[in-house]
Amino acid sequence: MNSGGVSLWPELLESLGQTLQMVVVTLLVGGFAGLLLGLALYTTRQGNLFANRPVNAVLNVLVNIVRPIPFIIFITGILPLTIAVTGASYGTNAVIFPMTIMATFGTSRIVEQNLVALDPGVVEAARAMGAGPLRIIATVVVPEALGPLILGYTFLFVAIVDMSAMAGAVAGGGLGDFAIVYGYQRFNYVATWTAVAVIVVVVQIAQLVGNLLARRVLRR
């Protein structure tokens, strides 16, 4: 894979590194914040541990407003905030900020959906044994839903890789940027499809690991 006689492999490798950095940081930070937001959505539902109709309604509206915004528009829309927080408007670090926010809201729904499917009987049993709500969340709600949650986070990983490609194209860095700069702009289809192949491999590995973990947790 060359461009004007120069090998593109070092660039590709660097782009992969940037993509992985964006994805991992977003997954960790956004995934954790999303878990908290998802738990808030779940526990404030009617009849649940912290049942609170107004709070639940506000959270729902918030999530519903942010989630449907197309990511590429979201990045440009919150650019001033990104600059204020990260001090940069361009580059991997600057892009991680909007990615994390979007991932937080996306994760919250995935988490909420998996927790709603949980049998309320086990929460009831823990309450009957005198456990407080925070202990119930940490020792019953999350562990009991862990299998589906892992699959949910695997799904999230793929969505974040997708986001990172878009983010990279707009604000620099990563495999998306590589595909545009060295592939699209130079009519180099080999470069484009090589980037695609690398992304596919990354996604495949993530899905494999997720399935493996989930199967271990679910013991089947």
Binding site: A125, G132, T139, P143
Partner: protein
């Protein structure tokens, strides 16, 4: 007696307890002015059809719900009005077993039994010893490292029971604990509950819609309907002399001993004599009814054509339906003698008798 010792106060005292749910479809009085005392060491049954308010009542006893009216006192502690944090130790001191077992699927059998001990802050070594002891008690020592998914329904409920007993509660609440089990497993679990009552002295409240559970296990029973306790007392008394239609229905469906009107019609087609149902009871006032002796004495032939007898609290309860054949006056005399001793139902319209009308005419002793 005016003793003020702990044993004199009831384990559970409910005073005019109500629970009203305000729903979109209006107000539901799930529990409506219930007053009950449940004594220490007894097995108390609460029986009622679905929606009667049994689960709500039992959830009020262990403070999973707070009443909208009245007062709940458990083991001398008034739960009503306590803040949520104050209720947690109270709940931890009451064992609860569920119809659907509600075991944690992510934990092993041992992990499930250890959970309430963790909540109670037991150190690990003590926990392990206690879990081993409990699994031994319920006969599941070999399953300690298995997961709930690998167990049968009866085994799951044993784990649920071991878990409920972990912190040595003085009170155990069982909400339809055997309703998801087959009859044989049900018997095993009921035997285990009986053992818990006898060997450990634990007071047990059994919620059920099955009379057989109450008959087998309970000392006293309360019958619930529309959120109210409509009848309560000694199990044998309540079932032998039901005062309410609901109670009669429970007894009837459990025993199938009384012929329904169409059964009577069919019987009559085949049996020309007088058809009479005689209650079989054994309470303090009456011994057995000497039917054979009466028949012999009056020269009347009696054939058993229908009936059913079961054991309630180790005493027989049911009825037998006879066809009586003999001279009119003799049959009348036998019926009168029987009616003096027990409840008798005449299914008239026999060829000779002329009281006519409905299929059932009760003559109670």
């Amino acid at each position: 007696m005016t003793s003020t010792t702990a044993t004199a106060t009831p384990m559970v005292r409910l005073r005019d307890v109500s629970k009203v749910y305000e729903g979109r479809s209006g107000t539901v009085r799930a529990v409506d002015g219930v007053s009950l005392d449940i004594a220490r060491g007894e097995v108390f049954g609460i029986i009622g059809y679905s929606g009667a308010g049994k689960s709500t009542l039992v959830r009020l006893i262990n403070a999973l719900e707070s009443p909208t009216g009245g007062e709940v006192v458990v083991d001398g502690t008034t739960l009503t009005g306590l803040p949520e944090r104050g209720l947690r130790p109270a709940r931890a001191g009451i064992g609860f077993i569920f119809q659907q077992f509600n075991l944690l699927r992510s934990r092993t059998v041992a992990g499930n039994v250890a959970y309430p001990l963790k909540v109670a802050g037991w150190p690990k070594a003590k926990r392990l010893a206690r879990v081993a002891e409990l699994l031994e008690f319920v006969g599941l020592s070999d399953k300690a490292r298995q997961y709930p998914d690998q167990l049968s329904g009866g085994q799951k409920q044993r784990v649920g029971i071991a878990r409920a007993l972990a912190t040595s509660p003085a009170l155990l609440l069982a909400d339809e604990a055997t309703s998801a089990l087959d009859p044989e497993t049900t018997r095993d679990v009921l035997d285990l509950l009986r053992r818990i009552n006898l060997e450990l002295g634990v007071t047990i409240v059994v919620i059920t819609h099955e009379m057989s559970v109450v008959s087998y296990l309970c000392h006293r029973v309360a019958v619930m309907e529309h959120g109210k306790v409509v009848e309560a007392g000694d199990v044998y008394d309540v079932f032998a002399r039901p005062q309410r239609e609901v109670t009669r229905r429970f007894v009837g469906t459990a025993l199938h001993d009384r012929p329904s009107p169409d059964v009577v019609a069919r019987l009559r087609r085949r049996h020309p004599g007088r058809i009479v149902t005689v209650a079989v009871r054994e309470d303090e006032t009456t011994g057995g009814v000497p039917v054979t002796a009466l028949l012999r004495q009056h020269g009347v032939d009696g054939t058993v054509v229908f009936g059913g007898i079961t054991e309630v609290g180790s005493r027989p309860l049911g009825s037998l339906t006879y066809e009586l054949v003999g001279a009119d006056a003799d049959v009348d005399a036998v019926v009168a003698e029987l009616a003096r001793r027990t409840e008798v139902v005449l299914h008239d319209e026999g060829p000779t008798a002329g009281t006519g009308g409905g299929a059932h005419e009760g003559v109670t002793a």
